[in-house]
Amino acid sequence: MSKLLTGAEIVFKCLEDQAVEYIFGYPGGAVLPIYDELKNHDSIKHILVRHEQGAGHAAEGYARSSGKPGVVLVTSGPGATNVVTALTDAYMDSVPLVCISGQVPTHLIGTDAFQECDTTGITRPCTKHNWLVKDIKDLSKILHEAFKVATTGRPGPVLVDIPKDIQFAKSKYSKPKSEKKLNGSSLNRFTQEEVDKLIEMMSKAKKPIIYSGGGVINSGPEASEALRELVQLTGFPITSTLQGLGAYPGDDSQFLGMLGMHGTYEANNAMHDCDLLINIGARFDDRITGKIDEFSPKSKKVHIDIDPSSINKIIKVDLALVGDVNDVINKITKTINKKKLNLNKSNKQQISKWWEQIQKWRQKNSLNFINSNEAIKPQHAVQRLYELTKNQDTFITTEVGQHQMWAAQHYKFNKPNRWMTSGGLGTMGYGLPAAVGVQIAHPEKLVVDIAGEASVLMTMQEMSTAVQYNLPIKIFILNNQYMGMVRQWQELLHEKNYSESYSEALPDFIKMADAYGCKGIKAETPDELDKKIQEMIDYDGPVIFDCHVDPNENCFPMIPSGKPHNQMILGPKEQEENKITGKGKALV
């Protein structure tokens, strides 16, 4: 008979069998037995954060940059409620997280005990599934299943709530069931016929476009390879969602840049005018589609996704292939090659006019901005950061707002898993703790959080974590003293009533860096920018970089609300050219 183990021991046994190396957490009364057991397990390192939300985002950064599930350990009550934002964020962006929370002892559940809350009730809508462990005999099975649910199909967060008496109780440990090797094919429901139909559509298309998303990244690095092969094979133009950046090289000529609200002119116009739209691992998010009724009106639409509930949720499609992106693309490429269609040659002629049109749109140079010699333009700062870091394998995280869009527009990603940003939930304060998690997964790599000064203050306390573990993350703050995106909307839509979007009392970030025990660097003029960025890159340790940028800059191009893709507002340069002057003005 095998030995009886305590609940706390079983937790670590499970983590070991699931090959977990890092836990992000914060101790408290209801998880103390698990923390007590930590010392006996050398293969698992605990990263002590400063706030449970930080633990969640750090685990997200870890998961998204490594492809492995992130593990979070928090206490009951406030510990659990603090992690809710991160769980919701992970749910929206399909990030695999396993959150273990302590709970008050079983006999006290429901009595409003100290630090009690209905954790499974609160987290039910923001997890794929959650469990309250009421019997020690179920613990190992539930923990193994938790990892399975988090990582299979469309990934996402799960939570296991373990009462304190269960952590002390003893039971036998059961190993994870060895899964029949299905290679995820159990989730593949697409058929050869559907693939054939798609290829027929592809060979007929005169104005095709591929629109890829985060599903390609989630499908693993092989999927990005497969996507590149498919795009080269077909000669089709490709655009990407915010989450999909890096799946296809950002500097390739077939890449049109990001699409959507702040996407490029060429990508959005191509989406609007195309006759075949192939969505690979994206979900027709409302920041992408704009006005639904006028979304890509002339196209046949194809949707490739692992989640059947994504199909026809927002946009009705003509053909749906449900399955793992990597498997679907490989099947498509294989079939094309087998049929010796030679799409590359035959297509080239067929779609050459389409490419000419795209080149015309490209000439608008929609990401352009008016640079300045006096003030640092935020776009310029991101461009310089890109130029100075592109020679090394750099990981970028962001907060949420204008700086996030500028980062997506001006930083070019060539590999998957290098870009971690909160897209679905749009969580300000995501980037700094995410950078902590990324750096844990990639200790030797350069990790930069492109931040805004408002966002970064929401989770600033995690600098202390970075210093504790000597994580050399670089917090690159585009400081414009405003909640920039809020200010932009107020300027464009609310008659410049800048209600509460100006931060009147910002801290001195240099002194703050000092206080945390890391390095502070400030840049105020374009002349010194390159030198200062280089200083940041070269410094071996965490850095807070306070980059003072033009506070009035807006993020263009943009699709105004309720407008279709082909009615974008372009940047100030373009607006200048189209400005109505003199006589014309009187007529308006």
Partner: protein
């Protein structure tokens, strides 16, 4: 059109709503009903009636029958979202007009009245298999099984005859013939 100030799109035209009966087989475990009902409220779906009970004691399977309304797209989403829940085994869906499926609801009516009125009540319920569950000199509890609309009508009809309390179940459903839900 007035200029939209929202960062979100404006709601577009309303489509026709259909009534559907959704049947869900779930593991009978703590919180499973909350998951199903929470999915409906969280995503703004409608629940007209709900009936739940364990149907397989050995396998611990419960059967949930939900009557809902929605556009075809919404009904599709409801089914697909339900299938994503971990304790859900299978989901079936029928239009209310579907002739191959039997839908039934049960109601208990308490009538407080003299005998002649109670007899009138029973007579009115004749078509709906009335069963007298309790009877005193001045009262009766009558059970009927019928469709939702029929029960609605009966409650109105019995009001002047002494109906003082009604208790109703949600609809349950079963296919006709040898066929079973799949």
């Amino acid at each position: 059109m007035a200029k939209s100030k929202s960062a979100y799109s404006v709601a577009t035209k309303k489509e026709k709503l259909d009534t559907h009966i959704i049947v869900v087989w779930v593991d009978n475990e703590a919180g499973v009903l909350a998951r199903v009902v929470g999915l409906f409220s969280g995503r703004g779906y409608n629940i007209e009636s709900l009936a739940v009970a364990e149907i397989d004691l050995k396998k611990n399977i419960s059967r949930i029958t939900i009557v809902t309304t929605g556009t075809p797209q919404v009904i599709d989403q409801i089914k697909l979202q339900l299938k994503k829940l971990v304790p859900v085994h299978k989901v079936a869906d029928f239009k209310r007009e579907d002739k191959s499926v039997i839908f039934k609801e049960m109601a208990l009516f308490k009538i407080v009245a003299k005998k002649n009125k109670i007899d009138k009540c029973l007579n009115a319920c004749k078509k709906f298999n009335p069963v007298i569950l309790d009877k005193t000199k001045n009262s009766a509890v009558i059970q009927i099984t019928a469709l939702r609309r029929e029960i609605d009508k009966m409650s109105i009809k019995l009001k002047p005859l002494g109906l003082i309390s009604a208790s109703r179940t949600g609809a349950v459903a079963m296919t006709r013939g040898e066929k079973v839900f799949n």
